[in-house]
Symmetry: C2
């Protein structure tokens, strides 16, 4: 989890990822849409490519100069549950008067999607009060 | 989601929250266990209290001076799906040779808990490829 937090532990990284998730994939578009400065955006995109969350893909539309866009890798796509859970927490506790900026939906039926907690023994949609963290094998001792 | 990211958008905030989640609740213990400097920790705890994620509670053990500990509020507890999803992403993509530092379990049966994606129409445990983000009513126009 330490490395995971290192990658996501700056607000601008999550902002950039969110843009790519909603389909804003070109440098200039991400810059305009997110408000992240060009310098910071350039650094963040390079870090997200280095970490294997995004890949930079060249493409060429008819009659125009070559362009690049950023696409999610499988590792980046695997952040859906994290971003979904964060979006629903934000919607619950910081309700925006305009409504949420992003809504995750099921591709097949367009119904809203939420992240919820499932136990391996088959108990579904656990309330948070029924979930407890245990130190795992990699936990630091509390000295 | 903007405010939500503002609160969580610094690595040290998530580190501090994780300590409180696993039951490390006193300033000195969080400082020692997390490695976050006293100054940064003091600022983060104040911010997390201001934002309503933690509450500072005085208690007194027999024969000792009064102490304080930090406890999760309902708003803080509601971050379980976010931290669970982040922990499982980290475990999958940055496998620590020692194993995960934290394992979320179901209080009743001790089975491991995961965050997964559910659609409101009843389709369960969606693969990430079946989930798509849609701009919500609060989305900024892509000008």
């Amino acid at each position: 989890m330490e490395r995971a937090m290192g990658v996501l532990g700056e607000r601008s990284s999550v902002v950039v990822l969110r843009e790519v998730f909603v389909g804003v994939r070109r440098f200039d578009d991400i810059h305009r849409h997110s408000g992240v400065s060009r310098q910071v955006l350039s650094n963040r995109l390079a870090m997200l490519v280095d970490e294997g969350l995004l890949t930079k893909v060249a493409y060429q539309a008819a009659g125009s100069r070559p362009r690049h866009e950023y696409r999610l890798t499988p590792k980046g796509l695997d952040l859906y549950p994290v971003l979904t859970a964060l979006a629903q927490w934000g919607a619950r506790w910081y309700s925006d008067p305009d409504g949420p900026a992003v809504q995750m939906v099921h591709r097949d039926c367009e119904a809203p999607v939420e992240a919820s907690l499932q136990c391996a023994a088959g108990h579904r949609d656990l309330p948070v009060r029924e979930v407890v963290p245990r130190p795992g094998p990699g936990a630091l001792p509390l000295s």
